[in-house]
Subunit: 433 residues, 2 copies
């Protein structure tokens, strides 16, 4: 019992911390409570109750199911519910009329057959991802309303009254949902998406800086481990992004976004952010064990740090672009700096084999048959040239790191393109309106 209660205590604490971190979600809970109180007034006020013939529970159910966290999701569900109820109600009455023409004998058969066919037909599209994203709820409500109207019509002769009550209760529920969702502390899916993308960019920049710093060896304090693996949440945010994009497309104009805001572009932007994240993941595997000699590391660290910090500077500048949705003049500058850093690191790679007479004094050399890359040991004057084969393996890591950084820079450029396209489309859509 003690253990169980401790476990629950831990759960409550976790929930509390979560609530403090995201007060918006607590507010949502109160909104649900408020909307339900509103809708349950139907039970208390007699005229309202009589008006819908005791079917007030449909309104309750509508509020419970359709009131979602974001405005977009709520509107999507409400529209689904409204359209599906209308369509299925009409179809149900139609099928019921047709069936009634065939006489008492065949009526149930025809009704059952139509239920079977329509239920199967409406279930199938739910498997298609594009339909599921927007119309899943609609398909369910369609089936339910159809069965309700067409079949229970056989029993209750007041079919139109039933259909009418169902429609009006659903309409009441929907209006309560939409009003609560939009006018009390609204959470816009568009805003959330916007912030998510910005956060993701910052996380990528932090991770990139962090890993290179870890490799170089300075600033490797344990506290930054959290920022180090920030890229992982970027990689895992695909599902959240997709559902937010789907919701945002249903939202009316709000804040800086108008109705025609290019939400679809965010999907592509998210994909390019993730592809950058994959590279950082590969990098994280390679950074693990350092083998390169200090001298070389030091020499290369400047280039690596320069390239990675330039890449992350580009990412951070992009955060500003996304926030304002206006192309920043600085971004081209930063991009140029990044490209310069790429060129520098490539030059450094080319110069790698010449390291032996690089920073130290020039030395007399033996002519050797096998001529591996020769790394002068730190302070020593004369180094023996031939047997030093291991350093090349050490260089492998440096080379890999550099070319992964170059690849990351290339993918950052793609992100820049996505962001620019997004900013352009957003501006042009504003001009149109």
């Amino acid at each position: 019992v003690m253990g169980l209660s401790l476990k629950y205590w831990g759960l409550i604490q976790k929930g509390w911390r979560y609530g403090v971190r995201e007060p918006q979600k607590i507010i949502h809970c109160f909104k649900v409570g408020m909307a339900l109180c509103l809708v349950s007034l139907f039970y208390y006020l007699r005229p309202l109750y009589e008006g819908v013939g005791g079917n007030a529970m449909w309104a309750v159910l509508t509020v419970i199911v359709a009131l979602e966290y974001t405005v977009g999701a709520t509107i999507c569900k409400c529209l689904n519910r409204a359209v599906a109820t209308l369509m299925a109600g009409g179809l149900g009455i139609g099928v019921h009329w047709v069936a009634s023409q065939f006489g008492e004998m065949y009526e149930p058969l025809i009704l059952q057959g139509s239920v079977f066919v329509l239920a199967a037909a409406a279930t199938f599209p739910r498997f298609l991802p594009s339909v599921k994203a927007h119309f899943d709820h609609g398909a369910l409500i369609f089936i339910f309303t159809f069965v309700l109207v067409s079949v229970s019509g056989y029993r209750e002769r007041e079919l139109f009254t039933l259909a009418h009550h169902r429609l009006s209760t659903v309409a009441i529920g929907i209006s309560i949902c939409v009003v609560t969702s939009i006018f009390f502390c609204p959470v816009w899916a568009g805003n959330e998406l916007h912030n998510l993308v910005q956060d993701n960019m910052e996380k990528l920049a932090d991770s990139l800086d962090g890993y290179v710093a870890e490799y170089i060896g300075y600033d490797a304090n344990e506290a930054s481990n959290n920022t180090l693996v920030g890229y992982r949440s970027v990689i895992d945010s695909m599902a959240a992004e997709e559902s937010l994009v789907n919701c945002a497309r249903w939202e009316p104009a709000h804040g800086g976004f108008n109705f025609r805001h290019p939400w679809k572009e965010y999907l592509e932007l998210g994909a390019s952010l993730r592809s950058c994240g994959y590279c950082i993941d590969a990098l994280s595997g390679i950074v693990g064990d350092t083998k390169a000699p200090d001298f070389l590391k030091e020499r290369f660290s400047t280039f690596c740090v320069k390239l990675s910090s330039n890449s992350s500077a580009v990412l951070r500048e992009l955060v500003v672009v996304i926030r304002t949705l206006v192309k920043s003049p600085k971004i081209d500058l930063r991009l140029d700096e990044m490209c310069n850093a790429v060129e520098e690191i490539q030059t450094a790679l080319k110069a790698l084999p010449n390291q032996k007479n690089g920073s130290n004094e020039t030395k007399p050399q033996e002519s050797s048959d096998a001529c591996p890359i020769v790394i002068p040991f730190d302070g020593k004057g004369e180094t023996d040239v031939c047997p030093v084969v291991i350093p090349f393996v050490a260089i492998v890591q440096l080379v890999t790191l550099s070319s992964l950084l170059i690849e990351i820079a290339a993918r950052t450029e793609k992100i820049v393109k996505s962001v620019n396209r997004l900013a352009e489309k957003a501006t042009s859509s504003e001009l149109k309106v």
Copy 2:
């Protein structure tokens, strides 16, 4: 109109192809139709209809909402619905009784207050991912039943009858769901998960082979582009995996899986498969443009192909292990081969600087101050040593490819560990039962 009808025609064709590819989903549609026909019998058979006091629609609603594609999801939803209905029904009756003690005046206030508090309290856990995965539906049903019982009790004095009807209709709906789901062409989430993981492994192996083949330059036919990007669906399959794992844990013993089958291990296995996929993604970026001279590529291709084909052989062997859930004796052999290939490629990397007198005849050498890696041009006898700096850049790609392949091999080893642990736990859980 023409364009619209063409679009719909395309959609229908797409749906048809989808249906042919996955007949199991078509069968599910028919199952839904069948279950609904069964439940709507309540409307036609008078004694059944009277038995639940005209509340047969709750049974319909239960079937529509709770009958999911996989057995596990159906059971999860049904259990959620049953427990939530019971709990909320009991609580609702209790709250109603307490409120009725305070007299006509305060009753609605207390009821409204309890609705507000409970709705808010039951909405909050839905934000926590661990709760959402298993009990999301339960929370909704809890709120709904509570509102229904506690509030409508104020109006209809036959509270117990209402609660009883709701319980029995939900029970009828649930039993129809479970029977249809388990006894007619069941789709087990466990099986689906099992197949998904195997498919993913094969896709990784195909992609890996494909990219190395593309880099080497042979077998680069366009048709294989589909298998090339197979790793992408591996990367994107996290959400599907998680939901399948959540469903599979609710399933009774079936086929080769018993109730205690270590489903959670699949999550870790999936994560290590994805991390391998990230590396392949990084590889795909680097493979793009080939700069290495043919001679070197040829020499290295043997090592790269050997390592990648060994890695993919390990993955393919793991598919067999997963399929049978018995540790294969071959796997250690394959793993050894892979490790050997890793060592070979490392040796080859070490030997890289010695390339100049590698495969060709030994040549007299000038003693040079700067001694870059010298690559003999294909047929030429005498090569001038000093100015050939570009080839080192060419090697950069080879080096990166090799070390990414080594990293992929390391991640493959992690996959092997995950699979072995899974196989072990599966065997031991079988012994326990």
